[in-house]
Amino acid sequence: MRPSAVRLLNILVPIKRAVDYAVKIRVNPEQTGIDLNVKHSMNPFDEIAVEEAVRIRERLKDAVKSIKVVTIGPPKSAETLRTALAMGADSAVHVEILESAPAPEPLGVAKALKALIERQKEGVDVVIMGKQAIDDDAGQTGQMLAGLMGWSQATFASKVEVDPEQKIANITREIDGGLEELRCKLPVIITTDLRQVHLLNEPRYASLPNIMKAKKKPVEKLTAAELGVDLTPRLETIKVTEPLKRVGGGKVANVDELLTKLKEAGVTGKRA
């Protein structure tokens, strides 16, 4: 007698091509953002997510059916997908936007991912992604996606254990003051925290043989229109400037001088 069919896991890993962490960024001359003519690479938190997905497969072996990576970005984002494929993902989806289009916002991304998940004939059991992108530091997409899908979520994960037979995942989260352990029913959205690097993994080098194999793995191209999603930003950035340069302070010799300086600065005192 066959036991109740254990559904094989389908893992989706959304990734983002962001400004490389080592780049010294500058505000662009129009003051609308940063100069984007710099080196880009995969968001480090997403690297950890890809690595974690590959490690889950190493632990569960055949129980993981597929690891699919997806990115929403300009044509150059294809390179980031190739890196993820070289790290061990099976296939990729590239939701292409124009080079000149503004960067999508978390809500737009979450809606696009929802549409994508609903398109997957075999369904998605685990979505694992970085907790935030290092260019906008928004940290919202995972949570919004969970809300839209009505799925369980475990954010800032530092340890993940998936049990496909019981259809649950045990996840340890980083919270202020310590660690929290959650047991979530699948399907689940997990966002990975940096500390995972220590507890579990250091993202592997994409070795040259894997990079070469990755060239043959399938990349599906889609547009936002095909997903039925509008990625127009809802927020308008008015101005971006660098922080004011720190002006040197001065030392005062005694309390009287301090009072004089405070009065000069326009600070008045009031008797309590």
Binding site: Y21, A22, V23, K24, R26, D35, N37, V38, K39, S152, G177, G178, L179, E180, E181, L182, R183, C184, K185, L194, R195, V197, H198, L199, L200, E202, R204, Y205, S207, L208, P209, I211, M212
Partner: protein
């Protein structure tokens, strides 16, 4: 959803100790027993510079012509194509016109700034005197480019044509067939720690077995060095001689910007015995490339190429150029060939050949080598295609037709015309003799002389170095920002970095021997006889001779420290160390400098970045900040 909250104190380093591969358990890497993934290709090219990429592009063009398919792989140790290449540069488009006749129609080509004027100036401490320049230095029809961007552009074209380009993977060594011929190359190992033990992330390099292997590593390439030695390719040619080029790119004040202007200088700050000169090229977009080349056959071990360059900028001519609203945006350094025709080795060996600066085709009068490098690549491609079209089972590839073709091409006549100029500087008259002879030869005789000056004594640059007791230390002025800065500040502009836990890629190794005795001898001779030359010469601050009474591999209270993370891959040490016991090997691919057109945008946050890149130190800091 069940929730169980557990409060655990945050022990910062605890988990790292538990879970990262413990050092005690790591095994030493043994190259003789490792199993490598092997891939068969038709042509494997080491180096994605103009020579390597021209070879690849030409091969793909020939595919259509010959009706055959060639699998072409190009390996590049830089993180991206263009990261490790550095030059002035003014290029003669002669080879590009032959390779891609319609290059001007492509909308992304980087040859946007023509050279509009050429000047030569002789500098004294305070004056800059215009002097006539040899006709070879007239730059009519040439372009001022960033060679880094040029290489990146060629790289895109190559990929579009189906060439497999793999940046971030270094050609680390040669794969030999049983008969001793070259059967391909292998890439570097990744994931070895400082002691050579295998970390958890260890992956052995892979092998590319190729019918034809072409080495395009640039000046003084590491694989080229091995092949030249193994196959005795220099038996009929003079040793190669080199210069070190130090470069900065500045965004100058608009009043000082004269787009297309090409200036070369001689004289100050170098003395009459030292070959070299400066340059100023006004590139596109308000940027000016400037620098100093010093012949590495300099005799005085107290000479510091970096400091000479910094003090040159205080000369009134440069000080004015860099005055006003100006910012430095880039710094870098690289060796270049100066040996010319006499130093070109035999170009082919069983199984492959040398192209570009790995062979050495720089025209020292024009101070240009890109056109010859590209043409050599194209000719090598044609010879390789012919070899591949023949019956494949007839032994290792014979690339001798490439050498014949090159000798019959304009590359040879280009180099022949100027073959005596550099050597004419090697007399007791120093640069005066050189200028006099070169003036006559280049203006009137144009190389049509029956004589060819040879380096019969086979003196290398290292051998030209004289002991320190014959000189007095040079009193360089301290750096005066913004015009001149200290070395480490400049170094941050190269964007250089190497992943931390990896073997030091600069080996104290001579004739295959590498041990403590050799290291002690190195320290002894370099400190006592040559006043620690490498410490002064390296443009990246890699080498230090410091006082340490307790060092096991030191001498007389001194030891050698190699800060290999700073390395910018210029190869000066391998060339110039008087004891000739530094062997430059490839580090893990993807490290090294990150030269690009706009270097400032790739600046890493200084030395701190070196620590940030991989290690948990950053993360522990991050944790405590949260």
């Amino acid at each position: 959803m069940l929730t169980r909250t557990v409060f655990r104190p945050r022990i910062l380093n605890f988990n790292r100790l538990l879970h990262s591969s413990s050092r005690i358990n790591r095994q030493l890497f043994d190259p003789s027993t490792v199993e490598r993934v092997s891939e068969d290709v038709d042509v494997c090219i080491v180096g994605a510079g103009p020579a390597g990429l021209s070879t690849a592009i030409r091969l793909k063009q020939l595919e259509q012509k010959l009706g055959k398919e060639f699998r072409v792989v190009v390996l590049e140790k830089g993180a991206e194509v263009g990261s490790h290449i550095l030059s002035g540069a003014v290029i003669e488009p002669r080879a590009l016109d032959e390779l891609l006749p319609d290059w001007a129609l492509r909308d992304d080509h980087p040859l946007t700034q023509s050279a509009t004027s050429s000047h030569m100036r002789f500098l004294t401490k305070s004056l800059s005197i215009p002097i006539p320049h040899p006709p070879q230095m007239s730059n009519q029809g040439n372009y001022i480019v960033s060679l880094s961007r040029f290489a990146a552009w060629l790289g895109n074209i190559a990929e579009e044509m189906g060439v497999e380009v793999y940046p971030g993977f270094a050609g680390a060594g040669v794969v030999y067939a049983d008969d001793g011929s070259v059967a391909g190359v292998r890439t570097n190992e990744v994931g070895l720690d400082r002691l050579g033990c295998m970390k958890e992330s260890f992956e052995p390099g892979m092998e590319f077995r190729a019918k034809v292997t072409l080495i395009a590593e640039g000046a003084h390439g590491s694989i080229a060095k091995e092949l030249i030695q193994n196959f005795d390719l220099r038996r009929n040619s003079d040793p190669q001689t080199y210069g070190i080029g130090l470069k900065e790119v500045w965004r100058v004040d608009p009043t000082q910007y004269r787009p297309g202007e090409v200036v070369h200088t001689m004289g100050w700050p170098l003395d009459f015995r030292t070959y070299g000169g400066g340059w100023v090229y006004h590139m596109a977009d308000g940027l000016v490339s400037l620098g100093l080349v010093i012949g590495l056959d300099y005799a005085n071990p107290y000479l510091s190429p970096y400091k000479e360059f910094q003090r040159m900028k205080h000369h009134p001519y440069f000080a004015q150029l860099l005055s006003g609203n100006s910012t430095r945006v880039a710094y870098g350094g690289r060796s270049l060939n100066e040996g010319g025709l006499q130093s070109v080795p035999q170009l082919y060996f069983p199984g492959g050949a040398l192209v570009g600066c790995s062979a050495g085709f720089v025209n020292i009068a024009k101070i240009k080598g890109t056109h010859n490098a590209m043409k050599s690549g194209m000719l090598a491609a044609e010879a390789a295609a012919a070899v591949l079209s023949q019956d494949s089972s007839s032994g290792p590839a014979d690339m001798s037709k490439y050498e014949t073709a090159l000798k019959n091409s304009w590359v040879w006549s280009d180099l022949n015309e100027v073959r005596n100029l550099r050597e004419s500087f090697n007399t007791p008259l120093g640069i005066w003799g050189g200028i006099m002879y070169s003036g006559i030869d280049s203006l009137l005789l144009k190389g049509r002389t029956p004589w060819t000056f040879r380096n019969r004594a086979r003196l290398t640059d290292a051998q030209h170095t004289q002991p320190a007791y014959r000189f007095r230390p040079i009193n360089y002025p301290p750096p005066q920002p913004p015009l001149s800065t200290d070395l480490l500040t400049s170094l941050t502009l190269t964007g250089t970095n190497h992943a931390e836990e990896q073997p030091v890629h600069l080996r104290v190794r001579k004739d295959g021997i590498e041990d403590t005795t050799l290291r002690k001898l190195h320290v002894q001779r370099n400190v006592s006889e040559y006043a620690g030359l490498l410490q002064r010469a390296c443009p990246a601050g890699v080498y230090e001779y410091i006082e340490d009474e307790t060092a096991a591999d030191g001498w007389n209270g001194h030891k050698l420290v190699i800060n290999s993370q700073n390395c910018i891959h210029c190869k000066l040490c391998d060339i110039k160390v008087p004891t000739q016991d530094i062997t430059w090997t490839v580090p893990e691919g993807g490290g090294g400098p990150k030269y690009s057109e706009y270097l400032l945008l790739i600046v890493s946050a200084g030395m701190v970045h070196l620590i940030l890149s991989l290690s948990s130190h950053y993360l522990t800091v991050y944790d405590s900040a949260v």
